[in-house]
Structure formats: structure tokens, C-alpha cells
Subunit: 277 residues, 2 copies
């Protein structure tokens, strides 16, 4: 599928999961006069969709979602927000979904990036180019350099990046916690919040503090897929875990609810830093 | 320090942390007529030490522990069992411990293997060769091949081994959970039990089952250090997480409380498998 100019799209379909990102994309588009059609994925999106044309679909209703996107005149789609990966056996498939079942079964055996890339392919085969949500929110992407405060220990960040690089080929998580040269936690299917809660529990036992959360996209991550994100909740959880700060790849990680995120970092004394890819 | 023949030792010092391993070493030695002196590390060892000559030491009492080992005529020491890594600042150092403080501070910035290797060096510099506990418990080490039941999916085991290989250089954990080709959890400082509990919680949300726990030593792990271990608790937690089984490196992982471990695996329907290094 040839590349699409995000600036030329007149109607965008937003496949909306949970979290602040889908709403931010919708509002940014509306602010530029772009029509938005929100596909609420299994009810994950939340109440904000009332302000936009929207339909709720069950995961597995492949034919229905394609028909809705056509009906609304969507020229492209973006996938944004979180969806709890359901067991394949729990999905309610329509006829087109059932036809894709063998392929979906293979995709479900992959990590999140593999699964989402495969889903993006399916939309493109149905004539809807898939554009990463960062194209609509350029200012929500982490900048390079100090964002709040000053990095406490660049060696910790380098160690964390090396670990994430080593894991990159396996489509696992996108975040680790390193403190004083030692890796305390590696994120896999549980998500960044649960990983930080675990570090907080470890620290409650040992009394130690310090260290950094590092988050970055996988090497060669499909550009059509959500970038990893941090938000105010991430800052709160990192502070509760006694960390010194958060470092993310500049240009590669969303900063959701940016103003609140920065304010919370200042209030909790955490640094925020964007490192060059 | 020249290699020591474990079979020729007449008195062994056991630096004993928590768990079943230190007691197993002590009983195996006593059964062969070898004198045992148990150093209870900060009270972690438990009540079983009453049956052996023992002393409790606080972590940081370097001079005292060396003097005790000399007094009891220990010809070598073994380090066995778990110790919760305390903050360096909480340690009660004696004079010899204080003299080692800069070196210990550097060791505390490493992963568990780096720290334990450095501690083993300190014992050897004081004239006590350090021998891995597996030398005294050859039959407690996992054999090659099927131990209980049959492996459900060798691809899952291969994926898990590749992830652990990639992480090996970073001295992180020694275990991962892979299910249907996807890595659900990576162990770091939290330990295998906490990692399995996390997978059980994920599964409670999704209803999925299947997958394997893979555990193995790091590449090039210092032979003086504890091998990783599984025990009845590991089997129980793996069953609660809905896994199909547990695979460990043959010759590289302890099977603690072997008979109960195997019985529990049979009862819970889990396979146990030893793969060739």
C-alpha cells in the first residue's frame, strides 16, 4: 500500500482502545477540521466518544468494522490505546472474521507488535491505510534532552538500553528498571504500571531507592503501531517505586497528558529525559 | 586458589541462607561423616540448624565469620540458600568488613551472580576455598530428558532459552514464562515465585492456560555459586499459573525436595523436563 499523507486525510477511523491516546488523536483531528469516526473496541474507549461519531464493535467483527469504516467514508485508520488481549476462543467472530481465523490464530501466537502488525495488514488489505497515531500528535512525542530535572546516572540508562536492545528481537516488553547498575525488573505481558508496582513492593522490603525507568520502542518497530507511552500514572508509579527518574527514547515515546505529566514529575522530584535513538 | 576435591574435605563451613538447600547439603555431608559448621546468615537459615554446630552472624561481620570458620577447622565453605539483599547502608560491619567497604559497595552495584562471585573471592582470599553446593548433592541436580510426563511444545522451550541467552550477559534473572510463542514474564529481582504469581494473575483476567516455565543458569556462571533451583513451591505456583510444565537445564538446576516435587508434578499434571545445555 503506497504511503499516505496524514495531512491530506479528510476522514480518519480511530480504532480506539483504553487510555488517553485515542481521545487526543480525535481532538487533534477535530481541531484541524478532519472528520473522525471512532470504533470503540469492545467498550474499552470510555465515555469521551460521545462527542464523536462512533460505533462499538466486538473484537472479531471484522466484516462489520470494515463496513462501518466504508459507510463513514474513512480514508485511513489509526490504532490507538490499550486492549486487553482476550483468549482467541472468547472472540465473537462474524463471517469475515471466521474466514481469517487461521491467520488470526497465528498472529495470536506472537508478541503484541507481531499481532498488531498483522492486524494492520488486514485493514490495509481491505483498502484502509494504517497510520501511526504519532502522525496526528507530533507534539505529544518525547523531545531530546532534559525535559524535567537532570539525569542522575547516565550509566543506568545505558545499561537499561542495552537490555532492551537484547530483548528487542523477542517482541517482549519495552521497559525495564535499572538501579545502581542492577536490573530490578523487566516488563513483559504485565505492562509498565504493574512492573513499577512490583519494584515498589521490592523496595518496601529493602528500603532502597534510586534508579531509572527506561522505555523505548523495539528496534524496527512497525511505524503503523502505537508508540510506547508514559503518562501521569507512570510518573506516580515511578515515584512510588522510589526511582530517580524516567528516560525515554526521543521521538519514539508518547508523553500523554503532557502538562500534567511534567507537573507531577516536578512535584515528585523525578527527572524526565529524552535520549537520542 | 588451587581446586579442592570436595570428597577430601573433613569439615565444611555452610554459609546458610533460607530454603531447603543448606539443610540438604548439611545432611548429605553428615551422612558421609563430614563435619559441618553452619553459619546462619542473619537468621535466614531456620530451625533445622539446631542439629548442627552453628553460629548466627550479621551480614557485614566479615572478621567474625572468618574467625569462626578458622576456630571450627573448616577446610572449605559452600554458599547455599537465599538471602534478601539488604541495602548496603543497613549492614552492621565489623572492622574487617569496614576495610572491605569500598569493594563491597562496588559488588552491590552488580547482579546477584556478580555480588556472590565477589563474596566467594573474599572467602578464598582468607584461605577458604569456595565449592558450589552441587558438589555435595550430585543427585539433586536435574537429569536430562523427561523427568515427569511429556513436553507439550518444544518450540516454547527453544524460545525461552533464546531469551535467557540474550539476557545472560546482564546478570538478570534465570527464568522466563513462554506460552504459545509469546513471552509472558521475565524474572529479574523479584524471584521465580513472584513471577509465576504474576502470570497466574494475568491468566485470571484472560482465562488462558498453557505454556512453560524455563529456568537455567546464566552462561558461564561461576561454579562456586548456587545453581538455580526449583522445588515443590515452584510446581505449585506453575500449576496455579495454568502452565503445561517446567523445563530446566540438565546438570544446571537443583531439584529441591525431589520426591515431593515429582509427586506434585504428577498430581497437578505438569511435565518436568531436563534439556541438554
Amino acid at each position: 500500500m503506497p504511503p499516505v499523507d496524514p495531512g491530506a486525510i479528510r476522514c480518519l477511523g480511530i480504532l480506539a482502545g483504553s487510555g488517553a491516546l485515542p481521545r487526543s488523536v480525535a481532538e487533534a483531528c477535530a481541531g484541524r477540521g478532519v472528520d473522525v469516526f471512532v470504533v470503540d473496541l469492545g467498550g474499552a474507549a470510555g465515555g469521551w466518544i460521545a462527542g464523536f461519531t462512533h460505533e462499538r464493535v466486538a473484537l472479531g467483527q471484522v466484516g462489520r468494522v470494515m463496513a462501518l469504516l466504508s459507510r463513514e467514508g474513512c480514508e485511513a485508520v489509526t490504532m490507538a490505546g490499550g486492549v486487553v488481549r482476550p483468549p482467541l476462543s472468547s472472540l465473537r467472530f462474524d463471517r469475515q472474521g471466521l474466514a481469517l481465523l487461521p491467520r488470526l490464530a497465528r498472529l495470536f501466537r506472537q508478541g503484541d507488535d507481531g499481532l498488531l502488525s498483522g492486524v494492520a495488514d488486514i485493514f490495509e488489505e481491505h483498502g484502509f491505510p494504517v497510520i501511526g497515531p504519532d502522525a496526528f500528535l507530533p507534539r505529544a512525542i518525547a523531545p531530546a534532552g532534559s525535559i524535567v530535572g537532570t539525569v542522575s546516572d547516565t550509566n543506568e540508562i545505558e545499561t537499561a538500553r542495552a537490555i532492551l536492545d537484547a530483548l528487542s528481537a523477542f517482541d517482549i516488553g519495552q521497559a525495564v528498571v535499572v538501579a545502581q547498575g542492577r536490573c530490578l525488573a523487566v516488563e513483559a505481558a504485565e505492562g509498565t504500571g504493574a512492573m513499577l508496582d512490583r519494584v515498589a513492593a521490592l523496595r518496601a522490603a529493602t528500603g532502597e531507592t534510586g534508579g531509572v525507568l527506561v522505555k523505548m520502542p523495539k528496534r524496527g518497530q512497525d511505524a503503523r503501531i502505537d508508540r510506547p507511552a508514559i503518562g501521569p500514572d507512570t510518573v506516580r508509579a515511578a515515584a512510588a517505586a522510589g526511582l530517580d527518574g524516567i528516560a525515554v527514547e526521543a521521538g519514539g515515546v508518547f508523553m500523554l497528558d503532557d502538562a500534567r505529566l511534567r507537573r507531577l514529575a516536578v512535584e515528585t522530584g523525578l527527572f524526565l529525559h529524552g535520549f537520542e535513538p
